[in-house]
Symmetry: C2
Subunit: 459 residues, 2 copies
C-alpha cells in the first residue's frame, strides 16, 4: 500500500483486538531474576505470593516460558469499550519540525482513566472477581492507576480501596472525585486506618505521605481483610504482560500499511507502558527476526536506568514487598517533586532492567522544562494535550526527528503517548508562569539511596 | 447486515468525513426569523454585520437557501485530527437497564477541547485567517468554547483573546491553563481592559461577572481593534451549520448498518449540539422522506423551550447584539448556578426555535440531581465520564429506554454525548457529597425576565 495512503489515524477493527497477550520473557535467553523473599533471600513461591496477589496473577507473574496467554472473553468485551486505540501518524508535527522523519504515536489516552493503566486494571479486577474475592486494595500517586482500577472494579462490581498519597489527595481533588464516581473509597495516606499509617503519623506528624507508605497501607489492608488482595499498576511482570496489548495493536496497525519502525520510544517509570509498547518488537529482536532501536525515556530527576544500579532492592519504601533485581536508585531515594508523578519511582521493571542490562535497549534522561516545551509544541500542532509522563517520549521523538532533519534520513519513529494531561494543569500553569525547575539529584544524593540497598549475595 | 454484527464503536474512515455541511434552513418552509437591528428593528444586512463577524461567516449566517455548503480543504484536514468521531452502541447501558431498546450515542468528547465545540471553532478561525485578520475575540463561561477556539487559533496562528466569566476564571483555573497552553490570552470578565468592563466594575464592585458582560467586552474589543472580529460558539445559524458534521456522520454510520432511529435526543443550551446532531434527520422529516421523534433536553433551571416565550429578544445581557426571534426567558433572566454552564443561556437558536414552534420537535426539562444520577450510572457502565451538559441527554435516553422496558418496544434511540466532564469534578463532588440542589425558577422569577423583552411589532 502506498505511503501517502496512510490515514492520520489508523484504527483497527474491534475484531482485530489481540486475543492473546504476549509474554516477552518467554523469548529472553537471560530471564529476569526472580523475586526474592526478603527474609530467606530465596525465590518467592506461588504459595508465598498467594496471600498478597490473586492466584491467576501469581501464575502470570512467575510464568517465563509461555509466549502467549489467552485474554479472557470478559476482558476482551471490556477492551471493546475503548480499544483498539488509534495509531496516529503525526503529519502535523512532522510538518512543524520540517523533518523527513515519519512519526507515529500510539495514543492510549482516549478513555476516562486517561491512560494505558486501564489495560491491566481490567485484567487484575477480572481475576480477582473470578477468584470470588470481595475487593482489592491499591495505592495511587498521580492518580491514573487509581482511576483505572476504580473503573475496572465498578465494571465487575468489586470493592476498591485506594490509598492516595496525601499530597496528591489534597492537590488533585478532581482525580479523587473521578474515583468516587466509580464507587471507590479513597483514603489519604498515611491514614489512621492502618497500623503502619498510625506508626508513620506518630513518627512524622504532618507528613504529606509517599508512594512507599501508601503501598504499605494497601498491602496491610489486603493481607488483613478476608476476601481482599493487593494489586499494583506497574513494575510487575503481569502488568507488562497485560500492557503488551499496546504493542501488539501498534504492530498490527503498522504491518497493515507495511511500515517498519526504525526507532521505538517510550517513557519509563516502573515500566508498564514501555514494556507493553515494545513487547512484540523486542520479541522479534530477541528471536533475531528484526532489529529496532528501542529508547526508554526517564526524568533526569529520577534516573533509574541512566544513573541507577542493577541490583536486588525493595519494591517499596516500607520494605514489606519482595526484593526485585532491577535498575534502582535505592528504595530510600526520594525523587524531587517532578510533575510526572507516574515516573517518580525508584526502581524499574525486572524484565526491562534485564533487557537494558543485556544491551537490547537504550535509555536517556530528560529535564522537566524541556519536556514541557515539547508537550506544548505537540499540543499546539497535534491537538492532544499530553500527560507530563507521556511528554518525556514526545521530547525524545522530537529530538530524534530533528536529528533526521540534519542528516536527511527518513527514519520511522514510533512513540507511546500514554495519556492526557487534563488533571495536570497545575504543572502546565507552573511552566507557563516560568516557575518550573529541573531538579537533578547530585551524586551525593544518589549515593545516599545506594547506601540503603540490601545485601544480597550473587547466586 | 445483521444486527448482531454492529460493533461497539462504529468508526467511519477518514474518507467518509462529510465534504459538505448541511444547512437545514434550506429545507424549512417557515424560515427562522431574521436578526433585527436593535435601533431600526429592520433585518440586519451583511454590511451591518461585517464589522462584528467575518465576511464569509456573515454570508453563511444569512444563507437560508443553499442546502449544502462545501467544507474547505483546510478545515477537512483539521477535522482528520479528531474526526470521524465514533458512534457507540451502548450495549453495556442496555444490559444494565435490561431494556429491549437499542441505544446509540455520538461521542464528541475525544478531543482536547473536550466537546463538539471544536467543529465550529476551526471553521470560524479558518474564515478569519482567510480574511487576513490578526485575531478574534470571544467569551467563555464553562470554558469548552474558549478551549476549542484556542486550539483552532493556535492551528492557524491567529491571536485569540478570551473573556472568561470571572467566577469561572477563578473556579476553573485548569480550563484557563489549557487555553494558555494553546497560546490564548485569557482575561477575567469584567475587566479594566474595556470601557464596558470599567463601567460594570464601577457600578458593581466585586462582581464575579456574567456571560452577558463577557460578550459585551469581547464585542467591544473586536469592533475597536484593527484586524479583529468577534466569534460565538452557539445560537447562530453559522454554528449550527458547522455542527451538522455531527449529524451527517451519525447518519452515515447508522446507514452503513441499516439502522433507522426512532428517537433522537440532544441537550440544548444555545442549540449548537442539538442543531448539528439532528440536522440531516430533520432534513428528511422536512422533505417528508422519514419521520423521527426529536427531543431537546434542557435544564429545569433554565427552561427556554418548555417555559419560555417565542419572541424577539436580545442575544446578550448588555443588549449590544442584534435581536433574534427565539424561545427566550428574557435577556435579563439570570439562571441559577446550575453546573451545566454550557446550558445556562436565556435564549435558543432561532432555527431550532422555529422548528419547535412548528411542532417538528419536542422538548423536556430535567432536574440537576436526576441528571447527575444518570451521569454516574452511565459512567460506570459505559466507561466515559460525561459532561454535565451531555448528561441531560443521557437522562432522557435512559428514561425512554425504561419506557421501552415497560412496553416491550424495541425502539432505536440515538443521543448526542457532547463532551467529557474532566473539568467538572467540582459538580460531581457536590453530587457525591449530597450538596447538589435543583433550582427551578418560580413563575414570578420568569415573569421578571419576560418583562424585559423588547417591544417588537409583528410584521
Amino acid at each position: 500500500m502506498s505511503e501517502n495512503k496512510i490515514p492520520y489515524k489508523i484504527y483497527l477493527d474491534e475484531s482485530e483486538i489481540p486475543k492473546q497477550w504476549y509474554n516477552v520473557r518467554a523469548d529472553m535467553k537471560n530471564k529476569p531474576a526472580p523475586l526474592l523473599n526478603p527474609g530467606t533471600l530465596r525465590p518467592m513461591t506461588a504459595k508465598e505470593l498467594a496471600p498478597v496477589f490473586c492466584e491467576e496473577l501469581v501464575a502470570q507473574e512467575l510464568n517465563d516460558t509461555d509466549p502467549y496467554i489467552d485474554i479472557p472473553e470478559e476482558i476482551l468485551n471490556f477492551y471493546k469499550m475503548y480499544r483498539p486505540s488509534p495509531l496516529i501518524r503525526a503529519y502535523f508535527l512532522e510538518k512543524a519540525l520540517d523533518t523527513p522523519a515519519k512519526i507515529y504515536y500510539k495514543f492510549e489516552g482516549n478513555n476516562t482513566s486517561g491512560s494505558h493503566k486501564l489495560n491491566s486494571a481490567i485484567a487484575q479486577a477480572y481475576y480477582a472477581k473470578k477468584q470470588g474475592l470481595k475487593g482489592v486494595t491499591t495505592e495511587t500517586g498521580a492518580g491514573q492507576w487509581g482511576t483505572a482500577l476504580s473503573m475496572a472494579c465498578s465494571y465487575f462490581d468489586l470493592d476498591c480501596k485506594v490509598f492516595m498519597v496525601k499530597v496528591s489527595y489534597e492537590q488533585k481533588p478532581f482525580r479523587r472525585e473521578v474515583m468516587r464516581t466509580y464507587g471507590a473509597s479513597v483514603t489519604p495516606s498515611p491514614s489512621e486506618t492502618t497500623e503502619i499509617g498510625k506508626k508513620i503519623l506518630a513518627e512524622h506528624p504532618g507528613t504529606t505521605g509517599s508512594l512507599g507508605c501508601a503501598i504499605s497501607e494497601a498491602v496491610e489492608v489486603a493481607v488483613g481483610t478476608e476476601g481482599y488482595r493487593y494489586v499494583l499498576g506497574s513494575v510487575l511482570n503481569q502488568v507488562l504482560l497485560h500492557q503488551s496489548v499496546i504493542g501488539l495493536e501498534a504492530k498490527a496497525a503498522l504491518d497493515k500499511y507495511g511500515v517498519k519502525p526504525d526507532i521505538i520510544i517510550g517513557c519509563a517509570g516502573g515500566g508498564s507502558n514501555l514494556g507493553g509498547l515494545i513487547a512484540p518488537f523486542m520479541g522479534e529482536k530477541l528471536r533475531g527476526e528484526a532489529d529496532y532501536r528501542i529508547i526508554a525515556v526517564e526524568p533526569a530527576s529520577c534516573p533509574s536506568f541512566t544513573r541507577g544500579k542493577f541490583a536486588y532492592d525493595f519494591c517499596d519504601t516500607g520494605m514489606v514487598c519482595p526484593l526485585a533485581k532491577m535498575y534502582t536508585l535505592g528504595s530510600g531515594f526520594i525523587p524531587s517533586a517532578n510533575h510526572a508523578g507516574g515516573l517518580r519511582y525508584h526502581g524499574m521493571s525486572s524484565t526491562l532492567s534485564q533487557l537494558y542490562h543485556d544491551g537490547l535497549m537504550e535509555a536517556v534522561s530528560v529535564e522537566q522544562t524541556s519536556v514541557f516545551k515539547a508537550a506544548e509544541q505537540f499540543a499546539r500542532v497535534e491537538g492532544i494535550l499530553p500527560a507530563p509522563e507521556s511528554s518525556h517520549a514526545i521530547r525524545v521523538a522530537i529530538d530524534e526527528a530533528l536529528k533526521c532533519k540534519e542528516t536527511g534520513e527518513e527514519k520511522t519513529i514510533v512513540f507511546g503517548l500514554t495519556g492526557t494531561g487534563y488533571f495536570d494543569m497545575v504543572a502546565y500553569e507552573k511552566f507557563h508562569d516560568g516557575l518550573m525547575t529541573d531538579q537533578i539529584p547530585t551524586d551525593e544524593e544518589l549515593a545516599k539511596g545506594f547506601a540503603g540497598l540490601p545485601d544480597v549475595p550473587e547466586n
